[in-house]
Symmetry: D3
Subunit: 69 residues, 6 copies
């Protein structure tokens, strides 16, 4: 599958915390920065997300903001 | 200013392409991956975005998806 | 690639309209309803989107609202 | 009320699962595909969402991505 | 139509700027603050948006961030 | 920090309700309208959000829709 989302960042899961319906997944990118994703518990199960798993963090460019100091 | 968005990734602007109302800004993260942001031309002007500028790519965690091979 | 987004709707491209930086792609779903996606021109080119092409419309569940009459 | 969101897909609620603050609502579209929405419990109560209820799934076009095989 | 989005802010259009495919609509809220919406030109036409028109700015709660000084 | 998001509305926290992983924060804007934000519990803690606190509600313009009667 190829997807239109411009941002597909390579990384590795470092933590999966499940709530009642929503899971927070932390992914360490190549380069050491960490990205947090809020996804459904169902998706976390289906993709078998667990620490160490190689994944991509996928983000639509219209969801990225820019900040300056 | 501190913001609730979980993802504030350090990087450097590598390209700014303006359209009629929307600009596409490419930011190279520490670690070498590139993030594209679609923002208004107005915001790009106001933040004086240009290649070489140190910025953060800011993304709400509910806008991040996870993909696996 | 498998992705966490809960909504991956099968359909067929019926129209691609490019703007200066942003393209509007219309996809007719199985069942006849039409979904419009705003994506970058770059993504539309890369995926070679054109009328007739079988695609999925992918939507994160946190981006779906519900309306009633 | 008329809304600018380009995507207003007719369907019928098939499931409502409430979490601590967030509900997942599954809607079967005309044509048989199912869309999942993550909304607040409060909204699910206010709209009296329950299986069988006719609803629209409303999605802004900037939140739709396109994927190809 | 009732919609699940928690935020439906009353205001009045003060400006509509159309680009190639995307329009920027500025709405002054009761209270004087101004909200900018990026919507499709098509939606702006369909809703006959023009300065002075009473509208609601509709925003899903998962798209709102909080910032502190 | 300056951010590209066009909408940075001044207000004051009136309520913080935490769920398992997601908090709902209600902010009364200058002018009396109330905005609800769904953010992570972690962010709510980090920003020390509590009733009475002066904050900004920050919203990307591509996440704002317009509705008319």
């Amino acid at each position: 599958m190829k997807i239109s989302a411009r941002n597909q960042l390579d990384g590795r899961v470092v933590e999966v915390v499940k709530g009642a319906t929503t899971a927070h997944v932390r992914v360490e990118l190549a380069g050491g920065q960490v990205v947090t994703a809020s996804i459904t518990n169902e998706a976390a199960d289906e993709l078998q997300l667990a620490p160490g798993r190689a994944v991509k963090a996928v983000i639509k460019s219209s969801d990225v903001m820019i900040a300056t100091e």
